[in-house]
Structure formats: C-alpha cells, structure tokens
Symmetry: C2
Amino acid sequence: MANLHDVAHELEKNLRESEEYQGLKEAYEAVMADDASKKMFDNFRETQIQLQQKQMQGEDISEEEVEKARKTVELVQQNEKISKLMEKEQHLNNVINDISRIITKPLEELYAE
Amino acid sequence: MANLHDVAHELEKNLRESEEYQGLKEAYEAVMADDASKKMFDNFRETQIQLQQKQMQGEDISEEEVEKARKTVELVQQNEKISKLMEKEQHLNNVINDISRIITKPLEELYAE
C-alpha cells in the first residue's frame, strides 16, 4: 500500500496545482470576499443541503419549498461571481470524474469478464 | 491536464498491481470457475440490482422481495468462494476510499475556509 499512497499524494499535489483547481479557488475566494455574494451563496448551499437531506430521508417536499429552491437557483445564476464559481466547480468535477474513471478501470474490466 | 492524466494512469497501474486488487481478481475468478458458485453469485447480483433500481425509482418493495433478498444474502454468505470474494471486495473498497479521501482533500480544505 505504501507505493499506492505515495502516488495518490502525488496526484493530490498535481490536482492542487492544476489550472482547474486554481481557477475554482480564485472563484470561491472572490465569492467569499464579497459580502452580498457570500450571503447569497451560503443561503443557496443551505437550501440545497436541506432539500437533499429531506430527499434522502424520504420526506415529502412541499410546493413552497420547491418554489423557494427554484428562486434561490435563479438568484445565484444572476450573480456573476457565483455563476463563475459554479462553472469552475463543473470544470473540476469533470477532471475528478476523469481521474475516477481511469483509476477504477481495473475493477470495471474484472467485472466485465 | 496532461500531467494529471499521467499520474492518474500511474495510480491505476499501481492499483492493478496491488495485493488488494490481485486478491480480488483471484477470488472473482475462483467464483467464476465454479458453476454452482457462479450461478449463486449472478443471482445475488441480479437481486441486489433489482432492489436498488426499485429504491432509486421510489417504488415500494414488498415483504416477499425483502425476504427473497435476505435469503439470497444468507445463501451467498454460506458459500466459501463468494464470502471470500465479498471480503476481498471490502478490502479493495477501503483502498479506493483511502485514495479518494487523499485526492479530494484540496476541495475539502477549500470549502472549509
């Protein structure tokens, strides 16, 4: 396992230095540095987490809550700093999904036998 | 991204050569090579997938189905080759979870700021 851990840490270092991560970091810090954007983003995240928790626990989600969530999304999309952050999140997600596909290939191959 | 991909492929190679992956491969091939175990394992996987799909689609799962699933699990646990395979799957899952935690650390740190 020693070797595997070393390579994983090397990958972490590379990810941290990547354009995609640095871009996300900048976008995140820009949101955090702006009071109005930070409040809006925190509110958005909280609404998302609440809905996800309800979904996972199989609770009903009221029309009112759906409407509130829709409005929160609409609001953050109009905020330039937050839309930039969400775009950068998507970029880094793509990178991480790519990496994940590469790493789990041996497993996929095995179970396809 | 070139560098990141290279390191990801190196990690894949290391994972493929790891004791944990080789152990899983052997255990999987032992199940596949034994007709009775293979049939039992295929049946178990099919039952699991069916239940997961129902759960994801929010469909009701009947008591009969729960009972059938319980019996399938009981059956595979008594099969030495399959329990060995499941044990090896768990080992490799631990390794992959470790790697995943290492790689996503920069993200965790960022959002904890």
